[in-house]
């Protein structure tokens, strides 16, 4: 299978020479097309830094990140913005919806800045809304809908541009368990029926159990890697808990 993302021996240092912090210390992995990969780690493990580097928000100190064969560590300025716009979709913990725009407009905005034609925008927004079951709230403002609905709107916005890779940063962090489950079901829809490749960062074992594969990061290094394979979600969840226990009490937030 084709690899969408290749992370090759990346390193990220903070601070000066005298006081150097290695946030990422030689991490390499690949993500296949259509894969739903989870990255787990406690706070301070480097998982957010890793996500920032992949999403081009931050720059690596050494190593290469290849997305669809293109080395994104070499991109600059406008190229970088264009790349982010066209190849990546983002889902954030705090939704990052514009409160002045309706749900419909929030989703459409991602397309308008890519200069997609108006007629096509309308069609695509309605299509994705149908899949994520948010059609009924399209004309509402963010303050009028629940957290789960907000996050599904944000997911719709992330996926509507047909990105090569969707990056989700603690997507369930601000949701109650019911909303979280609904959202993760939506992720499965995106992943299985729309073929979206999703990279999700979380410290929540339940959320992570929806992924196909999980990378555990500790102190800037990959500590472990587990595959879901043919096991059920419940079995996979138990596997995750095992690893978390192995990692040490640092990951307290398991359900």
């Amino acid at each position: 299978m084709k690899q969408v993302l290749q992370v090759q021996q990346i390193e990220k240092y903070y601070g000066s020479k005298a006081n150097l912090t290695k946030a990422i210390d030689d991490i390499s992995f690949g993500v296949d097309e259509g894969e739903f990969i989870g990255i787990m780690g406690s706070s301070g493990s480097g998982k957010t830094t890793l996500l920032n580097c992949i999403s081009t928000i931050d720059r690596v100190t050494a190593g290469h990140i290849l997305l669809n064969g293109q080395d994104i560590t070499k991109l600059k300025g406008k190229q970088l913005n264009a790349f982010r716009r066209q190849e990546l979709g983002f889902i954030f913990q705090d939704f990052n919806l514009l409160d002045t725009l309706t749900a419909y407009e929030n989703i459409a905005l991602a397309l308008t800045i890519q200069k997609v034609k108006a007629a096509e925008i309308d069609e695509r927004v309605l299509e994705i809304a149908e899949k994520l079951d948010i059609k009924s709230i399209l004309q509402k403002y963010p303050y009028q809908i629940s957290g789960g609905q907000k996050q599904r709107v944000a997911s719709a916005r992330a996926i509507i541009t047909n990105p090569k890779l969707v990056l989700a940063d603690e997507p369930t962090g601000a949701l109650d368990s019911k909303s979280a489950r609904q959202l993760l079901d939506s992720f499965s829809v995106l992943n299985q029926y729309m073929g979206a490749t999703i990279l999700m960062v979380t410290h929540d074992a339940f959320t992570a159990s929806y992924a196909n594969r999980i990378l555990f990061i500790k102190d800037g290094k990959i500590f472990n890697e587990i595959h879901k394979g043919d096991s059920s979600r419940k079995q996979f969840f138990e596997k995750i808990i095992d690893v978390v226990t192995l990692l040490g009490g640092a990951l307290n937030d398991v359900i």
């Binding site: 716009r85 983002f90 990052n96 409160d99 800045i113 108006a118 925008i121 916005r157």
Partner: protein, 695 residues
């Protein structure tokens, strides 16, 4: 510690709100400049007549400064309240750290004192410096002698500025303490977190209200221009109030209206950042309708003041040289009498004055021991009046339409009659057209626009007049150009020229008139002679005349005084227009700038989201530019529309007839003024906002 905190706070807010602090400094500087006009060096070097004019100007400016202080006070208090409200979280932090309200008030007190002192000192320094530049301008305008230049400093203006701004800052301190005392800690801490609910208006209601206000505004415009004749001064508030209400509701509904229209055109709405920009504007217009209305009205006043002020200036000075062909005109009432039935005024005349009123003016002057050699080209004539020949009589046929339009015109006024050869001697001296008359003919001379119109209508009927039993008919079917009394513009409301053969009695003489030039070759020599006729304190002649004749305080007009006072009055108008225009403009621009800057800092997060979903910086800047641009442009556009009608109305009200062509230079000057200052504020706001949303 409190002191240190306040200094740090100021440093921070100066960085963010530079524009506001610059406006404060400008305000102080301009306030000082205009109030220090009287002590300018230039003022000492001008003639007495001009000095009087300048005195009048300084007095007027003094009154206007009160209004200006109110506007600036409003700006300062408003801006301050605005900035204080934004610091709730900071105050909350202070209070959780154990600081009392009185201590927070103290911090604010220090801040206000520092900002006040800083803006006053810097503003005054700039003001003192700029007033030197302004005195150069004054010299040019009043044509004063500036060979002895000195640096001038006005203590009066200084203390006035300090007192005015001191009061304003005092008010700010009071407001601050009051505001702080009302805050509760819990509100302060949650102030930021509270999610602002966006009140959305019903778009259809918006469309309806927008159209209704547009109609209301159109009606107000019609009332002050198209329907001008029917408007009465004491009903003037109706169209003005209508205009203000319409302005408010147009802004109230505008964004909803536009949103509705644009939304229905998906091709535009779903293009680039249009959607975001429109929503941004629609979102904040709710909270800004009131201030936008005030800004629009201030801008309207700025534009109207500047362009009509500058136009009147041009209008008043245009005909001046042409209308003052000789150095002096003197007029004296004839046939004075204390008889109640014949009395011309309420004065009680002495015997000597009554006797003098049968002499020609040159005789009077000789009788007052004046050396006639100071005058040359002396021409004298007599105005006659005939009982029964009144305006009411000569304008009989058009009387109804005139009295409707000018109900206060004095129709019992007697028509003035002059013999044609007398007139021709004057006309020759003035270098204007001379006339010929056969027996039994008359000519009406008139050059005052609205009177010409009426007289022409009346002359169409070929009316006959009767003088001492003899009948005359009009030579022409309309008025002819010509005048006898010089003035600042064409003001001759009507003179009847009759043939020399007309038998007019000496008892029918109304006025004696004399026109002459001063017997001097240079301007200096003429100015010396002018003193004999114009210097009330020094001139012996004037004292004699007052005692012996009815000329009294020189019933007449001199070229030098006319030009000086006319130039002076137009200069007063110009100064006041610029002064008020500038203050209104910076006040409105500063409020807008402040609003937009705080808006940007509130919306930092939104721009962050845009960046995260992949919007280019250039596109983000573009949307910022569009937003700020629209907020600056919308009140300006409506203000310009208001002014189109407002200026017309103002000119009509002042009975100034200016062709659009002549208005153009002053409108261009106003536009330039606006572009530089308002545009400058816009650019500064945009640049500062751009810096704010970096990272």
């Amino acid at each position: 510690m409190l002191y240190k905190l306040s200094i740090k706070n100021i440093q921070k807010s100066i960085k963010d709100y530079t524009i506001y602090f610059l406006t404060l400094i400008f305000g102080v500087a301009v306030f000082y400049m205009f109030n220090s006009l009287d002590s300018q060096q230039a003022m000492m070097e001008v003639s007495k007549n001009t000095r009087d004019i300048i005195k009048l100007m300084v007095e007027t400016l003094g009154y206007i400064s009160v209004g200006v202080a109110v506007v600036l006070g409003f700006l300062i208090v408003y801006a301050n309240n605005f900035l204080i409200k934004r610091r709730k979280k900071e105050f909350g932090l202070y209070m959780t750290l154990g600081m009392g309200k009185s201590q927070i008030s103290k911090i604010l007190l220090f801040e206000t004192i520092w900002i006040g002192l800083f803006s006053l000192i810097v503003g005054l320094l700039i003001g003192v410096f700029c007033s030197q530049l302004m005195s150069v301008l004054v010299v040019k305008l009043f044509k004063a002698d500036m060979s002895k230049y000195e640096f001038v400093f006005s203590g009066a203006a200084l203390s006035k500025t300090i007192v005015c701004f001191g009061v304003m800052y005092g008010a700010v301190m009071f407001f601050n303490t009051f505001t702080i005392s009302r805050y509760k800690l819990i509100d302060l801490l949650t102030a930021v977190r509270k999610n602002e609910k966006i009140k959305m208006k019903n778009p259809i209601a918006c469309v309806f209200i927008f159209l209704a206000s547009a109609v209301l505004l159109g009606w107000a415009y019609y009332m002050v221009t198209g329907n001008f004749e029917n408007i009465k001064l004491n009903n003037l508030w109706i169209p003005i109030l209508m205009g203000i209400v319409a302005t408010f509701f147009i802004f109230w509904s505008l964004s909803g209206f536009i949103l509705k229209v644009v939304q229905s055109r998906k091709g535009i709405y779903l293009k680039g950042n249009n959607m975001f920009v429109l929503r941004q504007i629609h979102n904040k217009i709710n909270t800004t309708v009131f201030s936008i209305t005030i800004i629009c009205l201030l801008l309207f006043m700025t534009i109207s003041l500047l362009s009509s002020g500058l136009s009147i200036n041009r209008y008043l000075t245009k005909d001046l040289e042409e209308m003052t062909p000789v150095d002096i005109n003197l007029i004296k009432q004839a046939n004075l009498s204390n008889d109640k039935n014949k009395k011309q005024s309420n004065s009680q005349w002495t015997k000597e004055q009554m006797k003098d009123s049968h002499r020609e003016i040159s005789q009077t002057l000789k009788n007052c021991n004046m050396d006639m050699n100071i005058l040359r080209d002396v021409v004298e004539l007599k105005y006659y009046t005939v009982e029964g020949l009144t305006w009411e009589r000569t304008l009989d046929s058009v009387f109804d339409s005139i009295s409707e339009q000018y109900p206060y015109l004095r129709y019992e006024t007697l028509e003035q009659i002059v013999k044609v050869s007398d007139y021709n001697r004057i006309a020759k001296l003035y270098g204007i057209k001379e006339y010929e008359l056969k027996d039994e003919e008359y000519i009406v001379l008139c050059d005052f626009d609205s009177m010409v119109e009426f007289r022409n209508m009346a002359l169409q009927e070929a009316p006959e007049i009767t003088i001492n039993g003899k009948t005359y008919k009009s030579k022409y079917d309309k008025c002819q150009e010509g005048y006898i009394n010089m003035g600042t513009s064409h003001m001759n409301t009507g003179i009847y020229l009759v043939p020399d053969s007309c038998e007019l009695k000496d008892s029918q003489i109304q006025y004696y008139f004399l026109a002459a030039n001063y017997n001097g070759d240079t301007q200096e020599e003429k100015k010396e002679i002018e003193k004999i006729f114009a210097d009330e304190e020094e001139s012996k002649l004037l004292k004699e005349l007052k005692k012996k004749s009815s000329i009294g305080e020189l019933d007449g007009i001199t070229k030098i005084a006319t030009i000086e006072s006319s130039v002076g009055i137009t200069n007063i108008i110009t100064f006041i227009a610029i002064y008020l225009g500038f203050i209104f403009l910076i006040a409105s621009a500063a409020i807008l700038a402040l609003k937009e800057l705080t808006e940007t800092s509130d919306n930092k997060q939104r721009y962050g989201i845009l960046r995260k979903i992949g919007m280019d910086d250039s596109m983000i800047h573009q949307s910022l530019f569009k937003q700020i641009g629209i907020f600056f442009l919308v009140p300006l556009c409506l203000a310009i529309l208001h002014s189109v009608f407002g200026i017309q109305f103002a000119l009509k009200l002042l009975s100034v007839h200016i062709k659009t062509k002549d208005l153009l230079p002053s409108i261009l000057a106003t536009a330039g003024f606006l572009v530089i200052i308002y545009g400058g504020y816009f650019l500064a706001t945009f640049i500062q906002s751009k810096n704010m949303i970096k990272d």
